[in-house]
Amino acid sequence: MSLQSISLVDPTGADPGMTSLNLSPRPVDLKGKRLGLLDNSKANSDIILNAIAEVLNQQYEFADIFYVQKHSACLPPVPEILADLHRNCDVVIAGVGD
């Protein structure tokens, strides 16, 4: 029997338009900042986010706490939600519940 090579077709996907993304500048201090809470709409997400905010607020005394909920746990926020976060927050915590 002769030995033959074999060629496999790669079955995986790739992002055809992938570009590198840059992180926004990180705040050096949270003191007095406006905190955003992005609830991903899963069960108990509100509980964990509010608990985190309460703990952080004792230390950093936020100027405001802005709470908003996504329309779907599985999909990105709609543009209106992102615009609200941009307008009303300096930092955002995105939370998952269950």
Partner: protein
């Protein structure tokens, strides 16, 4: 839409085991796959007359497209014959048309949903798709590999790997393969796809996101009411259906002897749908007590009904399964992909 996108080709030398190479590259669902050789993938594409770069759809939220070549490679790996490929293509088309992001959503959810494929029409017999005995068991190539091809596409093309983008908590056996045909030849009712507006000799596939299949063994009931009351119990007690409260449908896969009795006693699909829908509920108080709904019980919760199906037509009745026992199966259709029926066509014909 055509594109120039071509898959990478990996040349192995004779010392490399191709099955193990697929494992090494993370291309499997845990079980061995058939190596996606260039020859096998081309056979698959030739059968349907598609070019490798033809784009079948895109999942915007994942910024991923599915090409015909990728679909064919995953079908080969699943063990599909080329004759099965039109069913896989139709199923993917149904998903893309329903909502392309649903392909991400049904894996991102923590409550573990699989994809069910119900096939109707002549193609069932052409490919020896099991419609009767041991319907949901291993043993038939078409049943086992067509659903598996969908899962491998999810894993390999859309990165829906357990613990990565597949966030199922408990997981589900339905993520291996759920593909079956209706037992049209021995059904007292018109075929399911005819109820959806298709002619009987048009082959179709119905695609639905589902949770695990539950069997019902009503063997001593002698009335339709007794049998349907057992289905009602199953639906009403399903916490997740109640929790979502929207877009939930149900497949009642009526086994042979259950169908025989229901037909003998004069039960039609509309009568059964109505009977079951109006009885499948729990009070809001009961559901709060069981932890399916958030909050403390208030007075009006004691009488407020929460229905498992919002409308009678959300209960979808299919005849399938063997005649060795007296059973039915109930399948919850989660709203990620509400039951969608599409024709199966070979693009080449």
């Amino acid at each position: 839409m055509a594109s120039d996108a071509r898959a990478l080709i990996h040349d192995l030398d004779y010392s490399q085991d191709p099955v193990e190479e697929c494992y090494r590259r993370g291309w499997t669902d845990g079980m061995p796959v058939a190596p996606p050789t260039v020859e096998k993938v081309n056979q698959m594409l030739d059968y349907v007359g598609l070019s490798p770069g033809d784009v079948l759809g895109e999942v915007p939220v994942r910024r991923r497209v599915l090409t015909a070549e990728q679909a064919a490679a995953n079908c080969v790996m699943a063990g599909c014959l080329p004759e099965y490929f039109p069913i896989v293509l139709a199923a993917m088309k149904a998903l893309f048309e329903h909502d392309p992001n649903c392909i991400h959503e049904i894996s991102a959810v923590t409550n573990s949903t699989g994809i069910m494929l119900l096939v109707n029409g002549p193609i069932r017999k052409n490919i020896d798709l099991n419609c009767t005995d041991n319907l949901f068991s291993p043993g038939y190539r078409a049943n086992s590999t067509i659903g598996r091809a969908i899962r491998l596409i999810f894993i390999n093309v859309f990165e829906q790997r357990p613990g990565v983008l597949d966030r199922g908590c408990m997981g589900s056996l339905t993520k291996y393969s759920v593909c079956f045909g209706e037992d049209e030849e021995d059904s007292p009712w018109e075929p399911y796809h005819v109820t959806q507006g298709f002619v009987a000799d048009q082959s179709t596939v119905t695609v639905a996101a589902i949770q695990d299949v539950e069997m019902f063994g009503n063997r001593y009931g002698t009335t339709g009411e007794s049998l349907m009351d057992s289905i009602v119990e199953g639906m009403a007690s399903h916490g997740l259906a109640i929790y979502f409260g929207r877009g939930i449908k149900w497949f009642w896969v009526v086994g042979h002897w259950h169908a025989e009795m229901l037909n003998r006693l004069g039960w039609t699909r509309p009568l059964m749908q109505e009977y079951i829908q109006e009885r499948s509920y729990r009070t809001r108080a009961q559901l709060k007590g069981l932890g399916y709904i958030k909050g403390e019980v208030v007075v009006q919760d004691e009488t407020e009904r929460v229905y498992a199906a919002q409308a009678a037509e959300d209960i979808l009745i299919v005849k399938a399964g063997g005649n060795s026992g007296i059973y039915s199966n109930l399948i919850m259709n989660y709203y990620g992909v509400e039951a969608t029926t599409v024709p199966i066509v070979n693009p080449k014909s």
